[in-house]
Symmetry: C2
Subunit: 336 residues, 2 copies
Amino acid sequence: MVEKLNLGTIGTSWITEQFIHAADETQRYQLVSVYSRSLEKAKKMSGVGQEVSLYDDLQMFLAHEQLDVVYIASPNSVHFAQARQALLAGKHIIVEKPAFSNVEELNEILNLAKKQNKYFFEATRTLHEDGFNQVKKHLPTQLVGANLTFMKYSSKYDELKNGGSPNIFSSQYSGGALMDLGIYLLYAAIGWFGRPTDVDYIARKLPTGVDGIGTILLRYPTFDVTMQVGKVANSFLPSEIYGEEKTIIINAINSISSIKEYSQATGKTETIACKNNENPMVEEAENFAEVLTNKKNEVIQKDYQEWLKLAKEVHETIAKLKIRANIQFEADQKRK
Amino acid sequence: MVEKLNLGTIGTSWITEQFIHAADETQRYQLVSVYSRSLEKAKKMSGVGQEVSLYDDLQMFLAHEQLDVVYIASPNSVHFAQARQALLAGKHIIVEKPAFSNVEELNEILNLAKKQNKYFFEATRTLHEDGFNQVKKHLPTQLVGANLTFMKYSSKYDELKNGGSPNIFSSQYSGGALMDLGIYLLYAAIGWFGRPTDVDYIARKLPTGVDGIGTILLRYPTFDVTMQVGKVANSFLPSEIYGEEKTIIINAINSISSIKEYSQATGKTETIACKNNENPMVEEAENFAEVLTNKKNEVIQKDYQEWLKLAKEVHETIAKLKIRANIQFEADQKRK
């Protein structure tokens, strides 16, 4: 029998539950402990069996000896302190995207992970899904542009308009459209096209100082990528990648379930097959387990290095976009 | 019997034929003369009957006494000289969009038309179609943005790549994506949302100096409009207009045949009925005839003034976009 990775989780929202189910589906993890500020909430997590320890004290949660890897899905601005503490306690970490509020935090975690000889994963599930890689395989030979969109009205916006202060729209919790949805667009663009040479972000900011809707421009030497992001309106636009010889049509950047390829030569549109997992976090859970259990496999470890490089490029790009749109989080102030 | 407007045409491409058929369908025009540099080509125009005079000399064509109104669909850069000559000969003019290479030419024509007591129409057919007006009627009460696209691979691009110099991609003939397709996007945006306060155009230029593909940004006090235009790749994206309470989805800006309205409150998408003419130039031909035959009708004449205002705003916006993307036509050089 293959030994399982002992998993602990931080955060008790739906996304943590989904990761627990995904980890379970891979059969490569064993959930051993759950942390929440409230034991009551921790207990209510689905998939939490008798043999799982519940904690409302982070220090004690991290002191759990069997614990190998911690999945962190607290509000964005809290990731850093918890990730740091987990690494110091000798645990590997999987951090929900966007992992950190700024590049400085990311670099500190990368350095600490290296020092502690532990792994850090940004939980960018799309990157590990088949659709993402199918698009990459089918890119036009000569790109002339791309138009990617991810824009979804958030019910939390009603809360904001009614005088509330939901985390997702607060600068205290490093919220806003760019961080919450733009991250998918940036991973797609940078994952597919590489690091842009110049960027711009034309954003409409909310009274809380974070962005509600905007247009992201990524410039490359011979083409540009235009991206629309927003949490104050709904878009139903598919995304497209342009070559002179073909156009790739993607149903949704955050959840690729249909890819089509239009050929200029034949005038025909064909479907590119792509596998879809019912739980979209299964592939990332599987891939992270591969890395953690094959430390001497060069191919697998090279993949890991690629993910880190991409995480860095995405965080650096976000930093530039924030400057362009004059967005600052409280976490950024602390870094000054 | 209502007296018909005597129509003459300049240009012998498909668009002129389509306008002749449209004019005929309204039963308000009588085609009396056709000008082409080649009599052979003029003769081949469909719809040209025995009673139509053919000319290969512009001066003689314009000297035709019965001629009331001239439709001009020559290459963009030639419009100005022909429009001027027609006005001086005492004819009304309908000029294919984009009417002129720059604002200076437009202003000169507007002044001359006034002086000559003649009418100038820019043949922006979309503006006169039902779909355009249905969208305007159904705009969100509070706009938060829009994403409009019109991008179509041109077979002339193959010609260009093979060493040819098609008019549509030449600066001599005031070509490029902005002029050829962007004009539809700009009429839509400015017609629906008004004059922008600031603009940008991130364009990829071809070796001929004109634009092949690009992203147009129109900024308004409380929202932004992002537009994608191009002639070197194909897009199948619909266009969208965003409010917090609803999203309007338009199948194609150059030819609106389907409009849908998604409501945030109900989560439902409904179809907005819009009439479609088989020949999309019928409505404009009809509307121009209305103006020309109802010179004392204030409501109709006010419509005409609105079209002129819009033509001016569109030409002024194009001028700004050209500066942003560093696009210059030979016609612009002459104006310096």
